[in-house]
């Protein structure tokens, strides 16, 4: 087993905490916007911030992320502008996907953050394919396939794990085991003792880590990334965490799990744990906490205001991005549409 102890400078620790806290506050605001009818749909990452930020923190700038539903925070950390993140959920003209994707399905090319399709587990073979290409081209970057616990029951998971093992591709499988695949509990998901142990069957290493401890996640992920980068093949990291909120804004978890269970996990809240660590280290205090919360909330509200001010994408963009050169009949339709929309 490689060395998984984290080594981070004080500045890095504070940067990590800032990202974790921002994600927590952003999710609260976004869910409120959804309830108020200002965005259509949202999936919060509440309870899983340490797993998301801690893992993405271990990646290099040129590495590629193939995310699942809850890794938008990783894109933000890698430079995805907050206004674009919020605009994506509104599908307005500031949304890089021009309002064509489901809300909460982000992508950002400059950060090598690939768009997710809602279909479960499809991104895992994509990550393996991309990693294989990196290997063939002799690049030193790696790919990460994020997934939830539910994805491990899909055929795609098997295919990807097997292929990655056989061809020793530089990929890290990161499973955010949050105990619930919408309403299916992990106990009904697999009879294995852990998800990490599944790696053994495919001929490579797996590790389970406390997913609510950002530093443990970072340590394990750093070792896994290094392993892949060194040409030693794939690695599976299982972060044991908990989805504190609903699966999405359309879900009501009170229908299938008890409040007691949620309360039990609340004691292991990843944001509070990181905050406590910083307090113990002497690099944090209540005053700094309040100031940071105020600053982040301001940043979020300002971004919301900008996003809400943006008009919808121009209707003519409907015709874009399908063919590199537009076909004549599409051009005709586009011209017709523009003509119709001109005032008489």
């Amino acid at each position: 087993m490689p060395d998984v102890s984290p080594s981070l400078s004080k500045a890095d620790l504070l940067r990590m905490y800032r990202e974790i806290l921002r994600l927590r506050l952003l999710d609260q605001r976004m869910l409120t916007l959804q309830r108020q009818g200002r965005i259509g749909f949202y999936g919060t990452a509440t309870g899983e911030e340490a797993a998301i930020i801690g893992s993405a923190f271990a990646l290099g700038k040129d590495d590629w992320i193939f995310p699942a539903l809850r890794q938008g925070g990783a894109a933000l950390m890698r430079g995805y502008p907050l206004v674009e993140y919020i605009s994506q959920c509104m599908g307005n003209s500031l949304d890089g996907t021009k309002g064509r994707q489901m809300p909460s399905h982000y992508c950002y090319r400059p950060a090598n953050f690939v768009s997710w399709s809602s279909c479960i587990a499809t991104q895992i073979p994509h990550a393996v394919g991309a990693a294989w290409a990196m290997k063939l081209q002799g690049h030193k970057n790696i790919a990460v396939a994020y997934m939830g616990d539910g994805a491990t029951s899909e055929g795609d998971f098997h295919v990807a794990m097997n292929f990655a093992g056989v061809f020793k591709v530089p990929v890290v499988f990161f499973c955010q085991n949050n105990q619930w695949s919408i309403s299916v509990n992990i106990k009904q998901q697999t009879a294995s003792e852990s998800i990490a142990m599944k790696a053994i069957a495919y001929g490579f290493q797996g590790i389970s880590v406390d997913g609510n401890d950002a530093l443990s996640v970072f340590g394990a992920m750093s070792a896994a990334v290094q392993h892949a980068r060194d040409g030693k093949g794939p690695f599976l990291v299982e972060a044991i965490t908990y989805r504190m909120g609903a699966h999405s804004s359309s879900d009501d978890p009170r229908m299938y799990r008890s409040d007691e269970e949620v309360e039990e996990w609340r004691k292991r809240d990843p944001v509070e744990r990181m905050q406590k660590y910083l307090l113990d280290q002497g690099s944090w205090d209540a005053e700094k906490q309040t100031a940071l919360e105020t600053e982040l909330n301001r940043e979020i509200l300002d971004a919301v205001a900008i996003a809400e001010g943006a008009p919808p994408p121009p209707v003519e963009t409907l015709f874009d991005d399908v063919f590199s050169t537009m076909l004549p009949h599409l051009q005709e339709q586009k011209d017709g549409l523009i003509r119709c929309r001109q005032p008489l």
């Binding site: 108020q36 009818g37 200002r38 259509g40 609903a246 804004s249 359309s250 008890s258 001010g309 929309r341």
Partner: protein, 405 residues
């Protein structure tokens, strides 16, 4: 201009919600994000926070009422005075889908009707010049219906006119349409499933409850010492369980796919409870292992939870036999529908004093009818009748219940 809050689509594609609870009243001041109202949709019950700061002018809709997505639920004085202050509410934008000004409706025959390629093709196939058609779709778009109506209009203009005049006279609303959804929909599905799969027969008998009535009178105070309100149900449950022990086939279900009868050796009795939303069955588990007073306490607790819509999921599952009690509503007898995939159900009715013949004399006794329905695939008529008369013995001589313990 007061700010109007419209019910957003809080799930994916929900069309309406039920108002569970208002958290504000007219005249109340609210801050942004303060809770306004709790709304239940097909998918979830959610709290809606205020998008604005201000004073509530009006709340629209009663608790328990249905509100359509996009309908105004509440008006708010944002206190900023007139039109200068509040920009067109962004809160409304995703809901109301305002037509942008640029999409203003083009006049028919302006040689530039707005339509999708499929509709253009359809117009071509029908030999209609699409630019002659005036569109009624979003932004003046020509729709399929417009093309169809265009055909009728050109062929029979007089008739079309008459129809449209007739349509303007509001017809007297004689049929109220209530959407089939939520619990009502579940009930409908379950009933159809049961009646469709299980060939029912119903058996009715009369029970002399006089001894049990007397026993209950004396047992009431014992139960109330433990805080329980003692009804007849716990005794009836106990008597039924004795019957189920003797006739185990009645405590089974038929697995059609496997071609097996699954006989249960545990006794979980379902109880039909009327709730404001409709019929719900709560389940009292392991009735054979509980005392009459324990059962009384549990029944009270579960029915109360059911009426308040707060039953835990595990208390709604796993029954092996069901009781439907019409209690004081009485009636003489009924033909209960089996709680599928169980194979038997018993309906219990009002206990009332009736003249009956005992030893050649007319006497007044406390009588009750029992209506039992069975799944005839599993339970033969003779078995059902035997079961009933066996259970009846226990109800008529309640001391026997305790002898069996």
């Amino acid at each position: 201009m007061p700010f109007e809050f419209r019910l957003p689509d809080i799930g994916e594609g929900v069309v309406e919600g039920e108002i569970v609870k208002w958290h504000v009243k007219p005249g109340q001041k609210v801050k942004e994000d303060d809770p306004l109202v709790e709304v239940m949709t097909d998918k979830a019950t959610v709290m809606i926070p205020s998008p604005r700061k201000g004073t509530i002018l009006q709340t629209i809709g009663e608790e328990g009422g249905i509100v359509k997505v996009g309908a105004v639920m509440l008006t708010l004085d944002t206190g900023d005075g007139s039109a200068t202050a509040v920009p067109p509410a962004p809160a409304q934008a995703p809901v109301k889908k305002e037509t942008p000004a640029a999409e203003s409706k083009p006049a028919a025959g302006s040689s530039r009707s707005l339509a999708t390629p499929a509709i253009r093709k359809m117009a071509q196939d029908l030999g209609i010049d699409i630019n002659e058609v005036s569109g009624t779709g979003p932004g003046g778009r020509v729709t399929k219906a417009d093309l169809e109506n265009f055909g009728t209009a050109t062929q029979a203009p007089t008739a079309a006119k008459e129809i449209s005049t007739a349509a303007q006279v509001p017809a007297r609303q004689e049929v109220e349409e209530i959407p089939l959804r939520g619990l009502r929909k579940k009930i409908a599905e379950k009933m159809v499933q049961s009646k469709h799969h299980a060939p029912h027969y119903t058996f009715v008998d009369e029970v002399d409850m006089t001894n049990l009535v007397n026993l209950r009178v004396s047992a009431k105070s014992i139960a109330s010492n433990r805080g329980a309100k003692l009804t007849y149900l716990p005794f009836i449950m106990k008597a039924l369980v004795e019957g189920l022990k003797k006739y185990p086939l009645l405590n089974s279900s038929l697995d059609e796919e496997q071609g097996k009868i699954l006989v249960k050796h545990y006794y979980n009795v379902g109880l039909g409870v009327a709730t404001p939303d409709g019929l719900t069955v709560v389940v009292v588990k392991n009735v054979d292992r509980k005392s009459v007073v324990d059962l009384a306490l549990e029944i009270e607790q579960l029915s109360e939870a059911a009426r308040r819509n707060k039953v835990a999921l595990e208390d709604l599952k796993g029954s092996t036999f069901t009781i439907t009690s019409l209690g004081a509503l009485g009636g003489m007898f009924a033909t209960p529908i089996i709680n599928y995939p169980e194979v038997a159900i018993v309906g219990i009715h009002k206990i009332e004093q009736r003249p009956v013949v005992r030893d050649g004399q007319i006497v007044i006794r406390n009588m009750m009818y029992l209506s039992l329905s069975f799944d005839h695939r599993v339970v033969d008529g003779a078995v059902g009748a035997d079961f009933c008369s066996y259970v009846k013995q226990f109800l008529e001589n309640p001391a026997l219940i305790f002898m069996q313990l």
